[in-house]
Structure formats: structure tokens, C-alpha cells
């Protein structure tokens, strides 16, 4: 991270690097650097949100159907976990500013635990998807989806909240269960996605009744978005561990809390991105 504060001062004093005139100039430089870094993060996820928007606009039926295969409850729990961790992080920054070392250590630890909690729940979700073959692109298992729609009874089951009942009798679509082999059927459906609004809305009309084509696209986007977010959470947890270690060592104080402050900014961003991901992926209607 760009936290260049070399804070070796035992009393939590910021040491001002030789190329800065004042501690304030140093603090403001580092803070601006962090904000710019966050801007790049937002733009990076912005690319993914664009891809999401384009595919959702072109194939609303996929998103409408596929989100029912996600587990809303686990997603909601994770949202609460992250929101809570943002709260403890903000409090931690305050504690650092006020020089409350023990409180700071405690809050950083709680925040870190929340990170573990989030990743744990996320891994349970991923595990479910893996078991059912609800994976990205070519790994998506359409045959398993049939079985799932008929007989699965876990809380994660989609059937109960799919608008029209999740189509137990839907016809297996052989052309899509397989690999990207170019059968005539395949060619036909590829053509069908020409951006003709009429066709899309027609397909939309049937969305509830049958399993739409190209469900795997949703899961491609789902895994990329949540995966990249997960990597950011992991990076945040490493950062929290580092902050925790320094806090225990007593590096921070009323005059040197830049690292905690900037770390907090990053953690809030990670939280914020999830606040967007959750409704966009889990709560479609």
C-alpha cells in the first residue's frame, strides 16, 4: 500500500520523510494517493459492471432465472457481516486518532474476523455451486440443472422462489448442455442473440416458464465479479493483519494514524462494492 509513513517512532509519532516540508503535507499526499488508487479500483470494477449491464440489457431472461439459483439468505448474511465490519473499521480509525491503543487492537481484530466470516460464507456458497455444476461458461452443467430443478430440497433451492415454478418439465436442451460444438442448433441460437429488441422481449416472455439459454453467461459474470471482490477482501484481510501487528507493537498514536486511516478507506471501498454486487446479483426481479 502507499502508506509510506515510516512510523518507527515509539510514541506513535509520524516521522516526516526528508522530501516533505511538514507532516501535514505528507499526510495529505498519502491520502490523495489512496483516493486515486480507490478511483482505479472503482474503474476496474466499473468495467465489470458495464459487462453486467450490457448482458442484462440484452438477455434479461437469463438474469431473471439464474439469480434464483443463488442463495439470497447467505448473501444477506454476508452483506450484514461486511456492513458491520465497516462500522468496526470506522470506529478503529477513530480509536487510532484518539490514541486508544487497546480499543484499536480490539476493533481491528473484530474487523479481521468479519473478513474471515465473509470469506467462509462465500466459500460455502461457492461449494454449493460447484456441487450443482452451476459454474461459468463451458463448465456449466445443464443436465444437473434439470435434476436440481426437480428434486433439490436445500435452502438454496431455486424452485420455491422462481416466479413460475422452476420448470421441472423443461425440455433438456441438448445443444447447450454440451461443449461449444457447432451443431446447427447452436448456430441458430447464436444468431438469435442479435440485438433485435423484439427477439429479446419475446424470449423474456417465456423466461419464467423454461430454462433460458445461455444461463452459463450469468454464472461467468457472477464468478468473475464475486471472485474479484473476494480477492480484494483477501487483500484487505492481509492489510488488516499488518495493521493489527503494528497496532500491537504500538506504532500508532494521535500523531500517526495515516496507515489505519488509509486502510479504513480501502476496507470501506471493498464493502461498498459488495453493497452493489448483492442486489445486482441476488435480488433481481
Amino acid at each position: 500500500m502507499s502508506t509510506a509513513a515510516t512510523g518507527k517512532g515509539n510514541e506513535g509519532r509520524a516521522s516526516v520523510a526528508h522530501y516533505f516540508d511538514s507532516a501535514r503535507q505528507q499526510y495529505e499526499s498519502q491520502k490523495l494517493g489512496m483516493w486515486l488508487f480507490l478511483a482505479t479500483e472503482i474503474l476496474m470494477f466499473g468495467g465489470l459492471f458495464c459487462a453486467y449491464a450490457i448482458y442484462r440489457a440484452n438477455h434479461p431472461e437469463i438474469f431473471l432465472y439464474a439469480h434464483t439459483l443463488l442463495d439470497k439468505n447467505l448473501g444477506a448474511v454476508n452483506t450484514i457481516v461486511l456492513l458491520f465490519s465497516s462500522f468496526t473499521m470506522a470506529w478503529a480509525v477513530r480509536a487510532a486518532m484518539l490514541g486508544q491503543r487497546r480499543l484499536l487492537i480490539g476493533l481491528l481484530a473484530v474487523t479481521l474476523m468479519c473478513g474471515f466470516g465473509f470469506m467462509g460464507i462465500k466459500s460455502i456458497e461457492y461449494h454449493h455451486k460447484w456441487q450443482h455444476g452451476f459454474l461459468w461458461g463451458q463448465r456449466f452443467d445443464y443436465a444437473a440443472l434439470e435434476g436440481h430443478a426437480v428434486g433439490h430440497d436445500a435452502a438454496a433451492d431455486a424452485a420455491h422462489d422462481a416466479p413460475g415454478g422452476a420448470a421441472p418439465g423443461a425440455e433438456p436442451d441438448a445443444g447447450h448442455a454440451g461443449a461449444p460444438a457447432r451443431t446447427d442448433d447452436e448456430a441458430g441460437h447464436v444468431m438469435a442473440e442479435l440485438d433485435t429488441a423484439a427477439e429479446v422481449s419475446m424470449a423474456h416472455g417465456h423466461a419464467a416458464a423454461t430454462i433460458p439459454r445461455n444461463l452459463h453467461i450469468f454464472f461467468g459474470i457472477y464468478f468473475v465479479m464475486t471472485g474479484l471482490h473476494g480477492i480484494h477482501v483477501l487483500a484487505g484481510m492481509i492489510m488488516l493483519g499488518w495493521l493489527l501487528r503494528r497496532a500491537i507493537r504500538g506504532d500508532f498514536g494521535t500523531r500517526n494514524y495515516t496507515a489505519v486511516d488509509l486502510g479504513g478507506l480501502y476496507w470501506h471501498l471493498v464493502d461498498l462494492i459488495w453493497i452493489f454486487l448483492f442486489p445486482l446479483l441476488y435480488l433481481i426481479h
Binding site: S2, A4, A17, H18, Y19, F20, D21, Q25, E28, S29, Q30, L32, G33, L36, F37, A39, T40, E41, L43, M44, F45, G46, G47, L48, C50, A51, I54, Y55, W136, G137, Q138, R139, P180, R182, E186, H189, V190, E193, R213, N214, H216, I217, G220, I221, F223, V224, L228
Partner: protein
């Protein structure tokens, strides 16, 4: 660094080593270089690495040109040829021309121009260099593993289906992107927070405006390239289906994502080049830059417009007619600020005192070549003609005139201009100008013939071609050899100056920007005395001194002796 309100004159010593030694010799050992936080050393390391990448990319270019001497196979097979032009494009774009001016010259001059001791975030700066080296090593490794044949644009679905080390190369570009982002963040923060008291935004040298605008694009556009490449890697490795038509994905979406970065990237390349030219034209005309604010604002305008025009790379890809028309109209908007800059440079020269020092000669060549590059852009922005010219040698010639005739020439001009400051040695003006002449002739021979064959029906990236184009290809290849000789002469001039060049005075060119108040080469912390803040284009603030063989401040210097001690 202290406040600029003081009127004490800077030191004028140039000949003797300062007591602490200069930044080059103050510490020794490879670790003192590789882990330095000194922006000047990082700049010099960047310069060396980038020039090595340029050499590598140049060798690929010569091989490609040699292959094209005859309409059929000359020295390599079609598959080898496809790898050659891909590597040429990828190396030149991502390893040479994007980082070239900002990371090498920018790193060196930006803090000096601000009168600062370093950039605001030196560790980030060092990380940027390390990441650049890692990314470059990955790219070189991919060559050893057989290379890639996707073209530097990595268009899907070709890039997801072809053989070769595509994932390694895209990872390498991804990594290089972070290097670029870190440089950008650093420059923005430095310009915002490290300006000395007394230097407002409109007292900054135009080079800083250009670097600032460049940094904005680096920070805002590069993340989109990062995510695009990640998606491409995921597509190729896992088959996520977003870009793959066989899985219902949209390959043209990749092009939109790619050009959303890569068009602004064109301005990452050209904006700092324009900044250099703005400095040089004023210095070597010894006349204040004409239309300072117009040039400064046009840099920002170009940065903003650059984000709105990416779709002009896809006029024939099948996007909607409406999108095509809008992108065409927006594309013309970029031409206006560029034209404004050119006219301001010309007006600066009007009634100036023009000295044809080597940097100025390169700057004049820049105006000539960039003029052609810019004007031929009009053909490609225009819908009716672009349909015919798209993906032909006309396009190849156009972007070489802007990227190479523009950015690379300005890069050379900048190297010659700041060379005495960087290494404390003067080079041979005569041989410098000879190199410029060779480059000029070779360049035009190489690329002008490509305009003609492109318009006449020669597509780009062709291994075999119809025999009627051979005459143009021959001219182009011979031109490329002359160009290469010119560049080697330039390199020889610089190397010779290191070995046997005259000691450089503090201010050999009479420039008024702050870096010329530091010694040549500067001490480790840049300036040891208080700075004299003047208008960066007020050339009456210094005068030629015959004994010094350089320029000295005109304010009477009472304490000269004490400072040179």
C-alpha cells in the same frame, strides 16, 4: 526546499563535483540503484530499461520489414511473421512508448521542475519500476516460450483459440498496467501537493501540465484494460463465455473494452511528447511560449476527449449506425486542441531567436511528422473514407507518424535536451543533427510509401501480398534501414558524450525552468541552495556566459564564491 519568496540567486557552479557528489556517484553498488528511492535514479533505470525494450522492438520491426521485401516468403514463415509483428507491436506499445516519456524523462524532471526533493510517494515510484521490470521479463519469457500471434490488440475469439503463450503475455500487460497506474498516481499527487509556494497552476511549466494530463488518463483508463485482460485470461483459461461467440458471448464487446483503454492510451503516449515540444520550442527560440493557457487547457481537453472516441476503431465492426456517427463526430473534437498546440508553437517561433541545437532539430521534425500524422487522422475519422482505409497500411502509416514520428521523436528530443542535466556531459551537436537528418529521411521513406499502398488496397498484417505493391514495400524497407542507422548514430552520439563529452554547465540551453538551477548532474537531494522562482518562460532571467560556456542568471550574484566552495 523552502519557500520561493527568497531572491537569493542559485549557485552557478557547474564544473566541480559538489562536496556530497552527485546523485550518480553519491552511493555505489547495484543495491544502491535497484532499491533507491531517488526519483532521478529510478528515472535513469527506467530510461535504460525502456531503451532496451525499444531496441528489442526495433529488431522485430527490422525483421518484419525485411520479410516484406518480397511478395512471398523472404526470411521467415507466415507463422513466424505473425509472431514478429505481434511482438513488435506489443513491446513497442506496452514496454516502450507508453512508459517512455512519463516514466523515464518524467520521473527525472517532474520533481526538479517543481523544485522538490523527490516525488510525493517514492516507494510507490520504486514499486512501479520493479513491476515494470517483472512485466517486461514476463513478456520476454513469452518470446522464449514461442511467442504469441494474436496481434497486439488480442482480439477475441482469435486470442482465445490460437496457440502460444497468450495468457503469459496478457498477464505481462496486466502487470505493466499497474506500473503505469502507480506512476500516474504519483505524478498527480506530486503536482497537487509538492508545488512550491509561489508556483500556482499557471506558473507551472507546460511539461508538467502535460504530465499531469497524462497521469489522469493513466489512472482513469488503465484499470479498464486491467479488467479486460483479466476477462480475456479467464475466457481463455476457464471458458467463462463472456467474449466467446460459441458460448453466446460477444466478441465485439472485447473490442469496446480494449479500445476504451487503448484509445486514451494513444494520448498517454502523445501528451507528454507535446509537453516536451512546448518546452523545447520556447527554450530554443528564446522567446516566451505563445498562448500558455491555450496549450495548458488543450492538454486537459485532449485528456477528456480521449475517453469519448474509442468507437472509431470499430466503424466497420457492425456496431449501430448511430454509434458510428456519434463516434465519428466526437473524434474530430480531438483534432482541435492538437491543432491549437501546433499553431501556438509556430507563433512562439515567430520573431524568436532560433538556435538549431539537436533537441530543437528533433522538435522541428516532430512538428513536421506529427503534422502529417494528425492530418491523415482526418481521413480515418471520416466515415466514408475510413470504411475503405480501415485495417490497411494507411492506418499503419498514420499511427506510426503519430506514435513514432510524434512520441518517439519527442522522446529523443527530450533525451538530448535533458542529457546534460542527467549525466553532466555535453554531446556533439553536429553528429546529433546528422542523426536527426538520417532519422527524418529514413522515417518518411519508411512510412510515407505505406500511405500510398494502403489507400491502393494493401491490407495490414499481410505476409504475402500482391506483387504490384512490391515497389512500395521495398522503399519502406530501405527507409527502415536508414532510420535504424540514424537511431544508432544518435545512440553513438550519446554514448560518446558519456565517455569523452565536455562537462556540462548548469544551464547549457538557457532554459528558465527550475531543473536548470540544479547542478549538472544534480546532487542527491536535487537542490542545495534556495531557489529563484521565475516565470518558466522568461528567458531574460538568464544570459550567455562565455567563460561558463552556459547560461547564468542575470541577477547580480554576490555570493558566487561561497556557493561554489
Amino acid at each position: 526546499m523552502s519557500t520561493g519568496a527568497t531572491t537569493t540567486a542559485p549557485h552557478v557552479a557547474g564544473h566541480v563535483d559538489h562536496h556530497g557528489g552527485n546523485y550518480l556517484n553519491c552511493e555505489s553498488g547495484w543495491k544502491s540503484w535497484l532499491f533507491t528511492l531517488d526519483h532521478k535514479r529510478i528515472g535513469v533505470m527506467y530510461l535504460g530499461t525502456i531503451l532496451f525494450a525499444f531496441l528489442l522492438g526495433g529488431i522485430f520491426a527490422l525483421l518484419v520489414r525485411t520479410e516484406l521485401l518480397t511478395p512471398q516468403q523472404t526470411i521467415m514463415t507466415a507463422d513466424e511473421y505473425n509472431r514478429m509483428f505481434t511482438l513488435h507491436g506489443a513491446i513497442m506499445t506496452f514496454l516502450f512508448i507508453i512508459p517512455g516519456i512519463p516514466a523515464a524523462l518524467g520521473n527525472f524532471v517532474l520533481p526538479l521542475m517543481l523544485g522538490a526533493k523527490d516525488v510525493a510517494l517514492p516507494r510507490l515510484n520504486l514499486a512501479s519500476y520493479h513491476i515494470y521490470v517483472i512485466g517486461s521479463l514476463m513478456a520476454v519469457t513469452s518470446i522464449l516460450l514461442g511467442g504469441v500471434d494474436t496481434g497486439w490488440t488480442f482480439y477475441t475469439p482469435y486470442s482465445t483459440t490460437t496457440n502460444g503463450a497468450v495468457i503469459l503475455v496478457t498477464m505481462s500487460v496486466f502487470v505493466l498496467g499497474f506500473s503505469s497506474i502507480f506512476t500516474g498516481i504519483n505524478f498527480i499527487v506530486t503536482v497537487h501537493r509538492m508545488r512550491p509556494a509561489g508556483m500556482g497552476w499557471f506558473q507551472m511549466p507546460l511539461m508538467l501540465w502535460a504530465l499531469y494530463a497524462t497521469a489522469l488518463i493513466q489512472v482513469l483508463a488503465t484499470p479498464v484494460l486491467a479488467i479486460t485482460l483479466l476477462l480475456l485470461i479467464a475466457e481463455r483459461a476457464l471458458g467463462i463465455g463472456i467474449f466467446d461467440p460459441a458460448l453466446g458471448g460477444d466478441p465485439v464487446l472485447f473490442q469496446h473494452f480494449f479500445w476504451f483503454y487503448s484509445h486514451p492510451a494513444v494520448y498517454i503516449m502523445i501528451l507528454p511528447a507535446m509537453g516536451i515540444i512546448s518546452e523545447l520550442v520556447a527554450v530554443y527560440s528564446r522567446k516566451p511560449i505563445f498562448g500558455y493557457k491555450a496549450i495548458a487547457y488543450s492538454s486537459i481537453a485532449i485528456a477528456v476527449f480521449s475517453f469519448l472516441v474509442w468507437g472509431h476503431h470499430m466503424f466497420v465492426s457492425g456496431q449501430s449506425e448511430l454509434a458510428v456517427v456519434i463516434f465519428s463526430a466526437l473524434t474530430f473534437s480531438v483534432s482541435i486542441p492538437s491543432a491549437v498546440k501546433v499553431f501556438n508553437w509556430l507563433s512562439t517561433m515567430y520573431r524568436g531567436q532560433i538556435r538549431l541545437e539537436t533537441p530543437m532539430v528533433y522538435a522541428l521534425i516532430f512538428i513536421f511528422l506529427f503534422g502529417i500524422g494528425g492530418l491523415t487522422g482526418l481521413f480515418l475519422a471520416t466515415l466514408a473514407t475510413d470504411v475503405h482505409l480501415h485495417d490497411t497500411y494507411f492506418v499503419v502509416a498514420h499511427f506510426h507518424y503519430t506514435m513514432m514520428g510524434g512520441t518517439m521523436i519527442a522522446f529523443l528530443a527530450g533525451i538530448f535536451h535533458w542529457w546534460p542535466k542527467m549525466f553532466g556531459r555535453m554531446f556533439s551537436r553536429k553528429w546529433g543533427n546528422i542523426s536527426a537528418a538520417l532519422v527524418f529521411v529514413g522515417f518518411n521513406l519508411t512510412f510515407f510509401s505505406q500511405f500510398i499502398m494502403g489507400a491502393n488496397g494493401m491490407p495490414r498484417r499481410y505476409f504475402n501480398y500482391p506483387p504490384e505493391f512490391q515497389i512500395y514495400h521495398e522503399a519502406s524497407t530501405i527507409g527502415s534501414y536508414i532510420l535504424a542507422i540514424g537511431l544508432f548514430v544518435a545512440a553513438g552520439v550519446l554514448i560518446q558524450s558519456l565517455l569523452a563529452g565536455r562537462q556540462a554547465p548548469t544551464n547549457p540551453w538557457g532554459a528558465a525552468t527550475l531543473e536548470w538551477q540544479a547542478l549538472s548532474p544534480p546532487i542527491q537531494h536535487n537542490f542545495d541552495g534556495p531557489l529563484l522562482l521565475t516565470n518558466p518562460y522568461d528567458f531574460t532571467s538568464n544570459r550567455w556566459d562565455e567563460a561558463e560556456q552556459g547560461f547564468v542568471p542575470v541577477i547580480p550574484v554576490a555570493d558566487k564564491e561561497t556557493q561554489t566552495s
